[in-house]
Structure formats: C-alpha cells, structure tokens
C-alpha cells in the first residue's frame, strides 16, 4: 500500500475532525447485523455475541427483543440480563429510561426498524438507539434489508410487500461495524416455513420464483454491505492520510470527444458498469473551440449520459490526457473507455496520439479503446 500523503486539511476541517473525534469518544459504538430477509439468524448471531461478551466480563443487557421468539433465541436470552419491554397502548416499546438508569456498557436492541406508538419518547426505535449511544452505551442491533429507507422501494418491487417501518441508510453508514448474516436462499425459504413469520406466505407460491426473489435480496444486501465497507475504508484512508491505489469495485470512466458519436460507447459503459455492479462516470474535456454542429452532438451525448445515470463532468484543461488521468485517480477509476483516434496529425505521428499517451501513462488503469 502506498503512503502518499494528501494535502493538509484546512484549520476548520481540523476543528471539525477534532469535534467529531471527541463526540466519537464519548459516544457508544454501534454494531449492526444485516440480513437480506427475516429468519436468516440475525437475532441468534447477535445474542450469541452478547453471550460471548458477557462471558468475557463485559456488562451486557438486552434492551429489546422481537415479538416472536425462536427456541434458539430463548435459550440465549436465558443466559443474559433482559430489561423487559414496556407497553404503551398495548404496543411493546423499549424501556429507554430503565436502560439509561441501569446504564450497561453494551445493550442489545433487536428489531431496529420497530415503530413506537405516538406517545413514546421517540417515534422510532433507531432514535431510541441514538439516545442510548449519546449516553455512551454501545449497541448491538439487527435490521432487515427491507426496512432500509433507500432500499424499500426496490425491495417492495421484488417482494410486492409494503412495509411501514424504516431506518435511514445513514444510520448504517455511520455504524462502527456492520456484519452480514448470510445463509443460502433455500435455507431461508425452509426456515420461513418453520414459524409463523412474515415470510410464511412464501411457501405457498412456487419455490423457484421465491428463491429467485430471495437471491435478488441477498445480492442487494451483500452489495450494500460492500458499499458500507468501501465507505469505511475511504474514511480510514482519509483519517490516516493514506491514498488508496486500488479498486475493489469497478469504476468506469467514459471519455467523450467532440465530433464523435458516443452512443455505443456510453451504452457499453452502462452495461459494463451494471454487469460489474460498479459506477459509471462520463467526462468531456474542453480543449478549444468546437463548431456549433459538434457542440450540438456533444450536448446530445452528455444528455444521453445523464439519462443513463452516469456521473457527468466537464473539465476545462489544455491537456485532455492529463485532465482525464487526474480525474481517474481522484475517483479511483479502474477502466477508461475512449474512442480510437480518427486520423493522425504530423505531431501525433511524431509524438504519438493522445490515446497512445493515455495508454502509456495510465498506470494501474485498464484502457478500452472503442471503434468510432
């Protein structure tokens, strides 16, 4: 790993960092167990960790459990201190006051997405958790993909089931640790049949179709976790002033030149980014004057790029090769897509075309040259 130091942060940024660090020290840490559906074993995994920690001498309590308990969960709960839920209008609510009074080092909160009834302290359980964290209590909690705000719509399209409860993605992104609870889809289906769970209706329908749906959810959960890990890694690198020089996620950069039909290359970029589950960037470097006709074609290409969901940027620089490379490094690009050069000027014949120069200097990045 390279240890290239980044530019020094400005004083204000330093202050913010210090404040964040201070807050961070006082605040409890949070670990989230993420599952792609219910009944994958999140609660068992979480409570088992609580048990292990307790056995190692940590002060652990259970602050909230699910409404329905499996025998495995019951067995683990028997070994732990449980602060009972209280009931408001007949609805179970985590007893935040009692937990604050007891003030353990670690508190287990199952069912993070749970909604509290109107007269509660907070509307949502994850807000209760925030309060516990602020009080310096560390949290072990679990959530199911379908409740994450930014994923709800996508999940609903797959399962056809609407859920009311939600947890913001930012909660997961700022978590200190996240752990994926992954089991094979057929096992998840099997388990859904074991208990009166929300997925129990699945078994009536055709198994293969259900497996496929679960597969999609599983893939989403894994990629979500990968994104969070990537984010954590980036933060770590920033904190330690280390530049990351490799990419675990494919990031494709399509370079558009004026006077060239970029449609095919853009679509290939989109398709490749999708296949790789990666990101798509599109840049155009303004080097000099373009004809109105070229300008129109260029605008059309850029509009097309935006419609394909690419991050589009226009760079102003004398040397397009340098501009593209700088952009690529800043965005941890792994593949650059570019058109073959059309004809060579005598200068290019002498010193090589821009494409040649790009190939020569793009260390660590693949260059894919496209027909015009």
């Amino acid at each position: 790993m390279s240890e290239t130091h980044l530019n020094r942060p400005d004083p204000e940024q330093l202050l913010r960092q210090l404040q964040a660090a201070e807050r961070y020290e006082r605040r409890g840490s949070v670990k989230v167990f993420l599952g792609y559906t219910s009944r994958v074993g999140k609660s068992v995994r979480m409570l088992d960790e609580a048990r292990r920690r307790k056995e190692r001498g940590e002060d652990v309590v259970v602050g909230a459990t699910q409404p329905v308990l499996s025998p495995d969960v019951e067995a683990l709960l028997a070994k732990l201190e449980v602060i009972p839920l209280k009931f408001i209008d007949g609805i179970p609510v985590m007893d935040v006051e009692a937990i604050l009074k007891r003030h353990p080092r670690v508190c287990v909160v199952d069912g993070l997405a749970h909604n509290n009834p109107p007269s509660s302290r907070h509307a949502r359980r994850w807000e209760d958790v925030e309060e516990l964290l602020e009080a310096g209590i560390s949290i072990l909690t679990s959530v199911n993909l379908q409740y994450i705000d930014e994923y709800k719509e996508k999940v609903e399209q797959i399962t056809g089931r609407h859920v009311v409860e939600s947890v913001p993605l930012s909660f997961l992104r700022s978590a200190d640790e996240i752990e994926v609870v992954d089991i094979p889809t057929d096992m998840a289906l099997e388990r859904a049949g074991e208990m009166p769970a929300e997925t129990a209706d699945l078994q009536d329908s055709e198994t293969a179709a259900q497996q496929q749906k679960l597969g999609k959810l599983r893939e989403m959960a894994l990629l979500l976790a990968a994104d969070i890990v990537d984010h954590q890694l980036e933060m770590y690198m920033l904190r330690h002033g280390v530049e990351q020089t490799w990419g675990t996620q494919e990031r494709i950069l399509v370079c558009i030149k004026a006077g060239v039909n970029a449609r095919q290359m853009l679509e290939s970029g989109r398709r490749n980014a999708d296949r790789f589950r990666g990101e798509l960037y599109v840049v155009h470097v303004r080097e000099g004057d373009t004809s109105p006709q070229e300008e129109a074609g260029l605008n059309e290409s850029l509009a097309h790029a935006r419609s394909l969901g690419a991050h589009v940027e226009i760079l102003e620089e004398q040397d397009w090769v340098a501009a593209v490379l700088r952009f690529a490094r800043e965005h941890r690009i792994t593949q650059i897509f570019i058109h073959h050069s059309r004809k060579e000027t005598w200068l290019e014949r002498l010193f090589g075309s821009g494409v040649d120069r790009l190939i020569r200097s793009a260390e660590g990045i693949d260059i894919r040259v496209f027909p015009q």
Binding site: M1, S2, K31, D176, E177, I178, E179, V180, D182, I183, P184, T185, D186, Q212, G215, K216, R218, E219, L222, L223, A225, A226, V229, D230, Q232, L233, Y236, M237, Q244, T245, W246, T248, Q249, S268, N272, R275, F276, R277, Q335, H340, E348, R349, L350, F351, G352, S353, V355, D356, I359, R360, A362, E363, G364, I365, D366, I367, R368, V369, P371, Q372
Partner: protein, 353 residues
C-alpha cells in the same frame, strides 16, 4: 460450516467430516465434537510425514454429506491429485454432497488484486469455474475489528504468530479490502445462480474452425474476448483479468499466442516453456487456446480476431521504451492502430508502489 453439519445430522442426514483443520483453536475443536471424522491419510515426502484427506476412505464410507476444510489446499507431492478441490470433485462425482470453505484470496482471478492489496502472492488458488460449479456460495462475514480482537486474544493463532500476522497480512485496511472483495464476489455468485433467464454464465462454444463472421448467440450480439498471450511474465495477470471480465460480461473467452517462426520448437527453450506455461494456465481457467503463425504479430492477431468475430482484444501494456511513433510503433500501438473496428483493452500491470 460445522454448525450446519450438526444441523444436518440432527435432521437425520448421514454427515461425516472428511478433512478437519482446527489449527489448534479451542472453539473450532469444540464445534467438531459429536461429528464423525474420517482419519487422515499419512504420506511421507522427503523424509517428513504429511497428512492429507483420505478420499478413498470417504468413498468407502460413502456418507450423504461430507465436510471438507480448506478447499484451496495443495496436496503434498505423491498424492493422487494435486489439489484438494480435485479430491472434492471426485466425491461429488460419486454422489456425495460437500460442504467446504475457502478465503477470498484463494480465488484465481483475484490473485493480482490480492497481491496489490496485501503484498502477498497467494500460491494456493482455486480456478473461478470450480467455484462457479458450487450449488451455493455463502459469505461468512466478520468485521475486521472483531477478527483483530480475536487475533490479539490469541484465539486464531498462538501469541507469537499472532503478533507477526498483525504486522503483516492482518492490517485493518487490508482486511477491509479483502472483506469488500468477498462481499462483491459472493453477490456475483448469488446473482449468477439466481438469474436463469439472463445467461450470465459464460458459454462454452468452441472456436468455430476458420468460419468467418460473428456468430449470433440467442439473438444478442454476444461479447467474444481474445487474450493475446506473450512471453511477458505479466501475461498471467492479463489472462486472469480477461477471464474475470468475460465472466462478468457472460462473454466467451479465447487466448492466442502468435509465433513468428514455424512451430513452437523454433522458439528458444526458455521462451517456449513460458508460452506453454501461459497456454496451460489459460486452459486451466477454461479458456480455449490457439497458436497462430505469422511474420507480423499485430497483423496476424487482428486478422484472426476479425475472422472469429471477436469483439474485444485484451493486450498487455508494453513496458520499457516508448520512443516517438516515428521510430516505429510498439506492439500495442500497432494492435490499436490495426484493430480500429473492434474494442481493444490494454490491461494495466498491477504494481505495488
């Protein structure tokens, strides 16, 4: 894995442990209790005794399910088969289901990335197609902090070894990167298994002799990748990268070496061995290979690609001298220049800086 074995056993399924490597870890040994373990087979190699999985004994015992630790393991010379994954395939061929495990760094196509990330060149690898044959792939996730804590507590390795590990491979960013790779790889494995309508597994149709034109597969204009094999040592990385891209794109993948003489025997011995090694490596990754003959390497490669309806040529960036084009183009420049009607991917050699 052992927990699942226990569950299967509780369901009345006949489960045995075919190979178990507890590394002296108490928790792991505890978890294996109550399971039938097939004794290892002892082999003597250069005066030392090695223990390997006793595949024959497992076949004789013939359980319904067999648990095999360390899928990526390389057997000691003198064993029936070179790799443990080959032993596993024998079990499968005989109708025994297998539960096995491997680390993400053992996946062949990630070998260069792993080296770049960790500085470790992993020797025990499993080709991607072997993993693709698995019915299910499950991610065993653990946040790096938790793993580091376990290391410090001496759960994973004895204290002295743990200290070394913490200083080398087990650094937080390294572990995080490997974890991200594992998550993305598992997501891909899940995707490939659950999208039957979309043909995302690479098709294995052979190179069609000398027929011309792109042959259309299921209406779609399918991608066809051609990897250019040279004597450059980085060719292995190029092959891995090509295979990986082909797998992601659901593309067919071929590899060729262009010989400027006639017959491989015309090459100097060292070069011939290198080329044979590369071709062999490509074939191990289920890439169909060809040797072409032609005076002009770029010309021969590109016209072959054109005849075979290749959509994308994979070449290695030429290292070393980069004189102005007027002094003659280097090989990459020539290929890029000639193959203007197709895509050319110049693969970056991964270097640790």
């Amino acid at each position: 894995m052992l927990e699942e074995a226990h569950k299967l056993k509780a369901q009345g399924i006949d489960v045995v442990v075919g190979y178990f490597e507890p590394h002296g870890r108490k928790d792991t040994i505890e978890k294996a209790k109550g399971l039938e373990i097939i004794p290892r087979r002892k082999l003597v190699y250069r005066g030392s005794t090695f223990e390997e999985m006793d595949t024959e004994a497992i076949l004789r015992r013939h359980p319904q399910v067999c648990v095999v630790d360390e899928f990526a393991h390389t057997n000691v010379p003198g064993s029936e088969r070179t790799k443990r994954w080959e032993d596993v395939r024998v079990l499968l061929d005989n109708g025994i289901d297998v539960l096995t495990n491997m680390n993400v760094q053992h996946l062949e196509s990630l070998n260069d990335t792993v080296w770049q990330v960790s500085g470790v060149r992993v020797r025990e690898t499993v080709p991607d197609w072997v993993v693709k044959e698995a019915d299910e792939v499950v991610m065993v996730d653990l946040p790096p902090q938790a793993l580091l804590n376990r290391l410090r507590r001496g759960v994973v390795y004895p204290q002295e070894k743990a200290q070394k590990a913490l200083e080398n491979f087990f650094k937080e960013p390294t572990l995080n990167t490997l974890r991200e790779l594992a998550l993305r790889q598992t997501a891909l494995e899940v995707d490939v298994r659950h999208e039957p309508q979309e043909d995302s597994r690479p098709a294995r149709s052979p190179l069609p002799g000398n027929q011309s034109g792109p042959h259309s597969r299921s209406g779609e204009s399918a991608d066809r990748l051609l990897i250019h094999i040279t004597t450059d040592p980085s060719t292995a990385a190029l092959i891995r990268r090509g295979r990986r891209v082909a797998d992601y794109l659901g593309a067919e993948c071929f590899a060729v070496f262009v010989n400027t003489g006639s017959g491989l025997h015309s090459l100097p011995v060292a070069e011939r061995q290198t080329v044979e090694k590369q071709l062999n490596f490509a074939r191990n990754l289920q890439i169909e290979t060809r040797i072409l003959e032609g005076k002009d390497v770029a010309e021969t490669l590109v016209s072959f690609a054109r005849r075979q309806g290749i959509t994308q040529i994979f070449v290695l960036r030429t290292r070393g001298r980069n004189l102005p084009a007027v002094f003659g183009r280097n090989l990459v420049q020539q290929i890029v220049w000639l193959a203007r009607d197709m895509q050319v991917t110049i693969v970056a050699e991964h270097r640790r800086r």
